[in-house]
Structure formats: structure tokens, C-alpha cells
């Protein structure tokens, strides 16, 4: 509760102290260090040992207590050193659809020393643990669930280490400006296809027939897209059949946001499905969003541009 109240101040302070950067070298400005719960237990054990030393007037018990206390102090340096001079570099994040896991690449580079048991992640999700060899680097792929379309920015990442003894934790909050694009979740459904302007009749017909209709099933031949396999038929034991779509050959189609009904997410999801479906069939199409026209065109670049536009449509930033 207290934590929640102070969170804004904490975050503002962090943002000032540790600004966003694509590459971060951990140093004394960025590393914090405190004893862990195990460290507290270690302290309690030391107090018990000290009591035994005092009550038994045993120099050796004093000696062991002090030795372990000294180990505790020296471990501060070792724990800090395990994190210091480590370089974190932002890699790209791949684009995913809502419901999938976005993977962010982070490259851990050693500044000369080996770094053992470095934990990375975004709490409260469990952190992933990596080792970085001396003078080497390690590519980490950190997953994050994509729940909303748009830019997925995981925000400040926690990097921490408890090595070597686990009695202290050295950590930092690093903002590597990681971002991954999240496309809408594709939603199969009826879609009004608006043909290019000037060809109204054909367009009406297309709408009347529905683009989802296919002419029928034909036997699978090598080279046919696997996406069009009719699995239901296969499961009924009818052999491998491919859905043969009505060729709307050569005609330019427009996927129009305005022509759809429903809420924004549903419309965007439907459009997403059709962007994928039409690209699969190498069908040229155009996308019309309020204030944005793309295409008509075909190919991967066009598809990605459309998906990107859908992902970012109506989303802040």
C-alpha cells in the first residue's frame, strides 16, 4: 500500500537517475545493493554465534563470527562487481499478434569480467537467469505476453544478481527503450469487399457472394498453400483437400474500415484477418482506415505496412 503511494515519486526519481537509452553500462550510479532475506537470516545466525562467543568466552567462536561478518562485508564488493561494467544492449522485438508472446532481444556484454547468475526480467514475472562469459556476450530473449495491440513497451527491466552468496542483492532498473509491435488478433468473418472505384457492379456482386465463399474443394497438390488445407475434411477421412477460393482475379479490392460495423477492436481484428488471408493468396488489395489509404498493392512489405497501420490505428502514439 505504502509502495503504491510512493511509486510515482520512485518512478520519477528513477527516470531522472536512469534515463532511457538503447545501451546501458551498469556502474555505481545505476547499481543499488541491499541484503536479501537470506542475508538477514545470515545476520541472525551471526548474532547467535556472537552470543555463544560472549557467553562461553570462546575466542574461536568470536573468530568465526568475525570471519563470517568479514565475508559478508567482502561479499558486498563481490556482488556489486558481478553486476558492474555489464553492458546491456537493446535488440529488436519481433512483431506478434495479440495473445502471443513477444520476444525481446537483449544482448548482455561483459566489460572484461565474467558475470554469473544475472537475472533479467519484468517483475512480477519471474526473472530469467543467464551467465555472461568473460570478454564475451550473451543474447537473451525475454518473453512478454502481448495483450493489447499497438506498441508493447515492457518498460523498466530489472537486472539483478545475488551471486556469489545470495545474502545480498545488487540490482538496477534499466530502461532500454524496448518495444515490439503487436498486431490485432485475426478474427475470421464476413467482409464486404469494396472493389476499386468505377467498378461498382462487380463490387456489389462480390459483396453479395461474400469473399469467404470458395468455389469448392480440390485435391491437394504440392505447391498449394498449407494454410488452405481443409482440416475438417481430412479429419472426416476425405483425404487432403484444399479450399479453392473464387478467383477475383486481377481486381483490386479495398478493405474498408468504414464499411464494417461493430466496435473498433472487432473491426480491426476482422481487417487483420483479411489482410493476412488476401496476402496469403497473393491478392492485391488496398486498406482504408479513417484518414489513411494504403495500396492497392501486394507482397510482404504491403502486408506489413497494413498490419502496422492496423496495430497502431486509434492507439495513443
Amino acid at each position: 500500500m505504502l509502495k503504491a503511494r510512493f511509486a510515482p515519486y520512485w518512478n520519477r526519481w528513477l527516470a531522472r537517475r536512469l534515463p532511457t537509452a538503447p545501451q546501458v553500462t551498469l556502474n555505481q550510479r545505476r547499481i543499488f545493493i541491499v541484503p536479501t532475506r537470506v542475508g538477514a537470516a545470515f545476520g541472525v545466525a551471526l548474532v547467535l554465534m556472537l552470543l555463544a562467543a560472549i557467553n562461553y568466552q570462546s575466542s574461536l567462536a568470536y573468530g568465526l563470527t568475525f570471519l563470517l561478518l568479514a565475508v559478508f562485508l567482502v561479499t558486498i564488493l563481490h556482488t556489486y562487481r558481478n553486476l558492474a561494467t555489464l553492458v546491456l544492449k537493446a535488440g529488436g522485438g519481433n512483431a506478434v499478434f495479440v495473445g502471443e508472446h513477444a520476444r525481446f532481444q537483449v544482448r548482455l556484454e561483459s566489460g572484461g569480467r565474467a558475470h554469473q547468475a544475472i537475472a533479467l526480467g519484468w517483475p512480477p514475472e519471474p526473472l530469467e537467469i543467464y551467465d555472461v562469459p568473460a570478454n564475451g556476450a550473451w543474447e537473451c530473449r525475454l518473453g512478454q505476453a502481448a495483450v493489447r495491440r499497438g506498441w508493447l513497451r515492457p518498460g523498466r527491466m530489472r537486472v539483478e544478481t545475488r551471486f556469489p552468496l545470495g545474502i545480498l542483492v545488487a540490482w538496477s532498473w534499466v530502461d532500454l527503450d524496448l518495444a515490439a509491435l503487436v498486431y490485432p488478433r485475426p478474427l475470421p468473418g464476413e467482409l464486404p469487399l469494396v472493389p476499386a472505384a468505377g467498378d461498382e457492379e462487380e463490387g456489389n456482386r462480390a459483396i453479395g457472394r461474400g469473399a469467404d465463399d470458395y468455389q469448392g474443394l480440390k485435391p491437394y497438390q504440392p505447391g498449394d498453400s498449407k494454410r488452405r488445407l481443409h482440416w475438417k475434411a481430412y479429419s472426416r477421412g476425405q483425404g487432403l483437400l484444399v479450399k479453392d477460393f473464387a478467383a477475383l482475379g486481377g481486381r483490386e479490392l479495398w478493405l474498408d474500415y468504414e464499411s464494417l460495423s461493430g466496435d473498433m477492436e472487432m473491426r480491426v481484428s476482422l481487417l487483420c484477418h483479411w489482410v493476412l488471408a488476401l496476402s496469403e493468396r497473393s491478392q492485391a488489395f488496398g486498406l482504408t482506415l479513417p484518414g489513411l489509404h494504403l495500396g492497392p498493392d501486394e507482397g510482404e512489405a504491403h502486408r506489413d505496412a497494413c498490419l502496422r497501420a492496423l496495430a497502431l490505428f486509434g492507439v495513443a502514439r
Partner: protein, 666 residues
Amino acid sequence: MSTPQALPRVALTWLLVAQALAILPHFLHVPLWLAGFWLACVTWRVQAFRMKVGYPGPTAKIALVAVAAAGAYVSRGTLIGLDGGVVLLIAAFILKMVEMRSRRDGLVLVFLGFFVVVTSYLFDDSIATALYSLLPVTALLAALIGLQQSPGAVVRPQATLRLAGQLLLQALPLMLLLFVFFPRMEPLWSLPVPDKKGITGLSDNMSPGDVAELSQSTELVFRARFEGPLPPRRDLYWRALTLEHYDGRRWSQGYAAQGYGAPPAWRRQGNPLRYSVVMQPTAKPWLFGLDVAETDRDDVRQMSDFRLQRRRPVDRALLYQVTSWPQAPREVNAAPQGMRRALQLPSAGNPRTRAWAEDLRARYPATPDLVKAVLAHFRQEPYVYTLHPGEGGADDIDQFLFETRRGFCAHYAGAMAFVLRVAGIPARVVAGYQGGEPNAAGNYIQVRQFDAHAWVEYWQPDTGWVSADPTFQVSPERIEQGLEEALAKEGTFLEDSPLSPLRYRNLGWLNELRMTWDNLNYGWQRWVLGYQGEQQLAFLQRWFGAVDGRVFALSLVGGVGLAFAVVALFLFKPWVRLRDPQQRAFRDFEILLARQGLRRHPGEGPRDFARRAAAALPRQAAAIDAFAHLFEAQRYAGEPAASQALRDALKAVRRALPWRPGVSSS
């Protein structure tokens, strides 16, 4: 840390090693069934790790705990107290190993291990124990490190051990500072102490055979270091206690002497002897000193019979400073009726001795003459000093004085005190040690159990208490040279321990070795074990002058801070620029080309720069390309970084370039 994490293999290895190392010294005093219990549990744990058997279920755990507790109770008779407690602690340590599954369990085990090591100090605090305990501590730290290593890491156990060793080494200076400066406190409350039943030594009652038995033991009793020269051996009568009560068979401490009576009257006179004594634990409260002894300790009092007594039994090595006044008269003005205790005799027994004593009294009315006559009797009659006097019967003094005439110091002292008492002279037996072996290396003497001795002191008005030693009349060698020489003819010195190095004192090198070892132990006791309270204060005052609390705290904090900084410097080596070796190589590459007048433009990538350089220097193009290619491959293509290859490529560039001084000097 929310889900229990599995135990890394390295951690398990080191936990097993650490457990073995930590328990081992305890087998000297814990019941032996624990060894079997431990072996069974270790086997179970290893098999569980290899998935051959399962972990113990709840029933099995309860059964194991019950077995351990019952075993501890049966073998120790109690679960309370140190001995029972240690058995329980070790049993818990063993059981935790069996049920250990997660890292958290591993941590508990490590902490238990530290406690097991600490308890081993309470039973034995020799140098060997201290050095040995570094092994389990290192292994426990290695286990702690192993618990933190990443699950995927393939680490050899030796690497983990090396890191643990480094941690300990770096902690050592800090530990020494803390040890020297941390203020020592008096015990906060009293704790059960290790059972010292097995300790041999003087007891508060004595039959003639007891001292002879003691003289078979070579165990160390105490060491004493004198300021100034060692007094001659024949003056070293170390008083432990006096035996005032005679029941016809045994001499024992009188009831009055046991209590805290008023301190006896005496006067400091003559030259004092100053020395410090480090005594081994005796589990008895009395201390050793030459007459008349005073100590510096608050918890030690001089009792009515001039012995020194501590408030608590000496259950660990104890260091104390003594000042003795050998010429001090003792209880000169005491009322003769107060000496009744020193005249106590059983109502009957030893009739011949009584008759002889009364006869002596009649012949020598003056006490000194009578004592002289008794001593002369021992000297002139054919008495034999022997460890094997034979069994005494009902009237054993009669038997000894008039028939066997064979005896050990206790026989002589007992008989003489008896005779003096019959003659009306207050007398008592003093038990303690006589002599000691000087250690040339350390300027101190060591007193062992076989130096145990008994002698007599008697009282007369105006003179006070006077010591007399009948043994000296019979066997002057015993007093002037020691037991070994006194028994040379008989050959019974340490006859039960043929391998004792003390029997081979005539072998020069062996004796030297023994003396050096003893000196080391003495230093250990004096400077490490005895580093408590006053000893610490005296040490700090010697080095830092008058010490007040603030200086104390400041030097502790400052010293620790300094040591910490030194370790930090050692670890971080800020004078070494910790830069990426690839970048360092590339910077050198830039410097090389800058000499040729080629500077990298801001924002120009390595590849473009190299292409431009290769175009400008066509003869060196091959070397430049090779370097740039390797750099790119390592830097960006994620090839394993081999800094040596990069440096070799750089060297090739340097060789290829002509040396043109003056072109550029950056």
C-alpha cells in the same frame, strides 16, 4: 524465489563434503551411533539424487526425528545441556540433509553447519581445531555459492571452492581487525558447559595412591611465565588446595576451608615474584600459585588457607597474573585455639605412630626441633621413594613408617602431618604441583600432571605457617630435578605410555621439536584463547596508549573501512581501464592510421573507414581489410570473442604500415 528451486549439483556436492568435515571432530565426544546414522542418511540422500529412491515422506520424517531424539536421550540421559544439545544439533543437521530438496533447505543446512562448527570449539580449542575448522567453513561457503549459481551453468566444483577460498582470504584482514578491536564482554548469562568428567587432576580429597596415579599422566596443567629469571626449581611449590581433614584413610578439604571465610592475615615482605599463568581447564574452581599469591582478577579470591579460588570452575583455558611473596609470614598472630581444625585426628588408629609422636614430643619440647627430628628420621632411615609402594592396610601409616618404608609424596606428607598433629602441632597437607619443565624457547615453565605433589605445612606461634617437605629428605632428586630423575633407578617414569615424547627428552631434536610445538601452543593460549577482557585492554593500551571508548570505536570503524577499501582496490583495480578488448584494439587501429593522416570521420562505421583506408593505402589494404573483417565478425556477427586473434591482426597492420614520424602525432 516464489517456486522452490531445485538444488544444483555443485551445491549438493559441497554440502555433503561440508557436512562430513563439520561432523568429524564431534565424533571425539558424541555417541558413535551418530556415525552410523549419518552414513545411512548420506547414502539415502545420494540415492535420492540419483533417483534410485524417493525422498522421505511425512511418516518417515517423523520416524527419523523420533529415532534421533530417542538415541540422543538414551545415550546422554537428557536432551538439555550442552552435550545433549550438541547431539540433537548434529542429528538435525544430518536429517535436514535427507529431506533437503530446494535451495531454501540448502540454506538452512548451511546455517546449521556453521552452528555445528561453532559448537566444536566449545569442546576443543586447540590450534589444530581452529585450523581444521577452516575446511568445513570453506566447504560451507562453496555450498552457499553453489546454491546461487545459475541452473544452466556447468561449473566444476573446484571453481566454486576457489571462489570460496578467495572470499575467505579477502575477509581475513577484516576479521583480524574485528578480533583485535571488538570489545569483549562478560558473559550475559551462564550456559551449560561441556561435560569435563574425563579430566584428570587433583581432587579435593586424597588417598596416598591418588597422586601416584596422577603421576602417570603427561597432560599439561598450566604454564607460567615469569618476569625476570626463573626461580630455582626447588622453590616452585605450586599450591592448589590444602587438605585439613583426616578420616584415618583419606585426607580431604575441611568444611571450613570450602566456605568463604575471612581472608587470612599475612604481610607482604621480601621480594615479590611476578608471573602469568595460563591454566588448562580443570572443571575445578581453584587456581595455582606460589605462596603467598595474589591475582589481578576480580572473580578470584584468596581463601582462608591461602589458596586462590575462582567464583566459577575453570572450564576453559584461563590466563591470570599472579604476584607471590615467598617470604611473607602467614597468620603469625592467629589465636592458637583457632588452629583446632589443624589438629583434628580420628579417635583411634595407627597406635605405633601415635606412641612414636608422643615420644618425640617428650624429647623435643620446641616445635622446630621436633620437626627437624621428623625430617631427619625420613632422611636417615632407609625410606624408598617409589610409585609402587604396595597396598596399605588398616593402620596404613603404621605400616608405612615402621614396616614397608616405601611410598610416594602423599605417603610422606600424610604421615608427617599425622605425626605433627599427634605431637600437638597444627599441621595440614598441601596438594599441588612441584617444579615444572622450563621451555628455553619461550622463557616459561610447563607443569604437567606428573608434577603433582603433596607436602606439609605446620603452624607455630610468632612464626606462622611454615612449609616442610618430607619427600625432599627421601628423594632430593624429585625436588631438584624432577620425577623422571627420581624414578631413574626404578625405571617407572611414564611406564604406561611408552610412546610419550616426554620419555625421550634425551633425544635432542625430538625434544626441541616438542618444545617448539609447546611454545606455539602457549602463544596460542596466551594471545588467542586468552584474548579476553583485561588481556585485550592491556594489549590495546600497549599499542595505542590509554584507550577510551571513542578512540576504540573510531579505530575499529576506521580500520575496517581501510581494510574494506584495500580489498575493493584489489577487486576492481581501477588503474586498469576495464574496456572492451575489441574496442581497445579498434582504438589502437585508429591511432595507427591517424599516424598516416587517416582519421575516422564522426559517424563513419568501421567498414567504411577501413574501405577508405584501404583505398588510401593500397599496399597495406590486405592487412587493413583482414583486421576490419575480423573486428566486424567479432563485434557484430556474434562470433566468439577471441581477443588474441584480433590483436594478431592489429600487429599485422602495424608491421605493414611504414613508420613515418612527424606526419601526425596524435
